[in-house]
């Protein structure tokens, strides 16, 4: 492992009974870099995300995270309070279904401000201003700050989830198919937003997707998984333009051209 990686994993293995979900997977993520993990359903992408973020323990292998002070932490050996704190501040998790990550009974402003309040912010005016700022950044009308998420469309909910996650300026964001289930134009807008925010805020991200086009648009590097094994990894353009492994070739050639 080099000095500079933000997140690294070595020989991650996990089986659900006899089904291998991860087979000796290695991951490296550098600061400010977006890594896409692609593969068909059941390839182990989401499992990998959960193991990397400490939500699921591997059967074997280690995940290391480098904190802002440069210290390495073994994610699965960390104490629960520290891991929870990490999830609330330095890390973010964007779910495919935004309703899982939002409080549907709390206003948009409250949702965005929650992580700030969890970190000790105690000035109502400042919290509200930060919430307004972020709603604007994710292109949600500032008038909606006191509206409940129940009144938001799917695309707006996803953008609200992103605002809620990024408000504490995390250095690392895990995204599980953030554009899944959205129609094409909404998806395009969301991808554009993610790309802008990630590059401006220099966020590192692990993006799980089954959509190659999303990976090509957003990611610097790509990892292709098949049945728990990483079959190919490299720079996105290189891998997608010149796929070496048969499975990658299959994936690339299967993409429908609009």
């Amino acid at each position: 492992m080099t000095d500079e990686t933000l997140l690294s994993a070595r020989r991650l293995s996990l089986s659900f009974g006899t089904i291998p979900a991860l087979v000796r997977v290695d991951v490296d993520l550098w600061p400010g870099e977006m890594l896409a993990v692609v593969g068909e359903s059941g390839s182990g992408k989401t499992t990998l995300l959960n193991v990397l973020s400490g939500r699921l323990s591997p059967d074997s292998g280690t995940v290391w995270y480098r904190d802002p002070a440069g210290r390495l932490h073994d994610v699965h050996a960390m104490e629960a309070p520290l891991l929870r704190k990490l999830h609330r501040s330095d890390w973010g998790f964007v779910q495919q279904d935004p309703r899982e990550n939002l409080r549907m009974g709390v206003t948009a402003g409250g949702n965005v401000g929650e992580r700030l309040m969890a970190q000790g912010a105690r000035h109502y005016g400042n919290i509200r201003e930060a919430a307004l700022d972020w709603l604007t950044q994710v292109e949600i009308d500032a008038d909606r700050i006191d509206d409940l998420p129940r009144t938001f469309s799917g695309g707006m909910l996803q953008r609200l989830q992103i605002a809620r996650t990024l408000v504490t300026h995390p250095r690392l964001v895990f995204m599980d198919e953030p554009t899944g289930g959205l129609d094409v134009s909404v998806q395009a807008r969301l991808l554009d937003l993610i790309r802008t925010l990630v590059s401006r805020l220099k966020i590192a991200a692990v993006l799980v997707t089954h959509d190659i086009a999303v990976a090509r648009l957003l990611a610097h590097r790509i990892m292709v998984m098949q049945r728990g094994v990483v079959v190919e990894t490299g720079l996105t353009d290189q891998v997608l333009d010149d796929p070496q492994h048969a499975y990658t070739q299959l994936l690339v050639s299967s993409v429908l051209q609009a």
């Binding site: 402003g109 409250g110 929650e114 309040m117 000035h123 919290i127």
Partner: protein, 288 residues
């Protein structure tokens, strides 16, 4: 009273409760589980408070029992008589005379002293109860001091109503560490919790939890820097004694909508009237 141990509970039970109380005092604001016993009244009628009182009561104590500030309501009278009969202790309605005060939902207006103990009856000991349904999760939140969700609730109130809309059982931070539900006392009483010279004990019989605030402990009501906590009260004077600094009950006195505001603390009002203070209603009555 024949056939019953002193203060009704057996010695082993009282010892168990006192052990829980010691733990509670050692960790201010933290809820300690205890083996709540079957009491001669159902849950919701003050069994937690009664068990705590029974465990700390001694033969030389002077007991006062109040219900929403009044000594003369049915339940306050019942509980006071219960202890008079099972413990033979002196009872009183005067706050200054009492060494042990059991209360439902009010703190007496008269400041308490170091040699006094106040026991609160608590219906719901968990301050996060309405925000987080899972008790396992709230226990984790208390352990990790993750109270952001409570501030979200306050934020929502201010966004919706312009001010925090919690009027009783207003959540407090005890000793800058644990979030505590002070029992359904009016928000007006919250400032009295802070650095009170008396020992404060809280008992929840149905929920089987005990917690405590030792004397002179920091107790601060949650708020925002730019929306500080305000102790609300009706902007009136007591109709009987004229007090403008006590918590008032609003009483409807006829079917034309006439209201009378009187001190909720009956002892405080009686003392003031005995000292010669007269309120507007008192004057009207005298004139008749």
């Amino acid at each position: 009273m024949r056939g019953y141990n002193f203060a009704y509970l057996d010695e082993q039970t009282k010892r168990m409760i006192r052990r829980a109380l010691l733990k509670a005092v050692a960790i201010p604001g933290y809820q300690i589980p205890f083996g709540s016993r079957e009491m001669p009244l159902p849950y919701g009628w003050g069994t937690g408070g009664i068990q705590v009182t029974a465990s700390v009561l001694g033969p030389d104590d002077v007991l006062k029992v109040i219900d929403q500030g009044a000594d003369d309501t049915t339940n306050a009278v019942s509980i006071r008589r219960f202890f008079a009969r099972t413990a033979g202790v002196r009872t009183t309605t005067r706050t200054t005379e009492a060494t042990l005060i059991q209360t439902r939902h009010r703190i007496p207006e008269t400041p308490l002293r170091e040699d006094q103990i106040i026991v609160y009856q608590v219906p719901q000991p968990e301050p996060l109860y309405r925000l987080e349904a899972s008790r396992a999760e709230t226990r984790r939140m208390h352990a990790l001091a993750e109270y952001g969700v409570m501030h979200v609730k306050l934020y929502e109130d201010i966004a919706r109503f312009g001010q925090v809309a919690i009027s009783y059982d207003y959540p407090v931070m005890v000793n800058r560490r644990y979030l505590m539900a002070p029992s359904p006392i009016p928000a007006f009483d919250n400032p009295k919790l802070h650095r009170m010279p008396a020992l404060q004990l809280f008992g929840a019989g149905r929920e089987k939890r005990i917690y405590a605030v030792p004397p002179y402990t920091d107790v601060r009501s949650l708020d925002f820097e730019d929306h500080p906590f305000r102790a609300g009260r009706a902007p009136r004077a007591c109709g009987l004694c004229g007090a403008v600094d006590s918590y008032l009950d609003e009483v409807v006195i006829d079917d034309r909508g006439q209201r009378l505001f009187v001190c909720s603390d009956t002892d405080y009002c009686a003392e003031r009237r005995a000292a010669g203070h007269v309120g507007a209603e008192g004057l009207a009555e005298a004139a008749e």
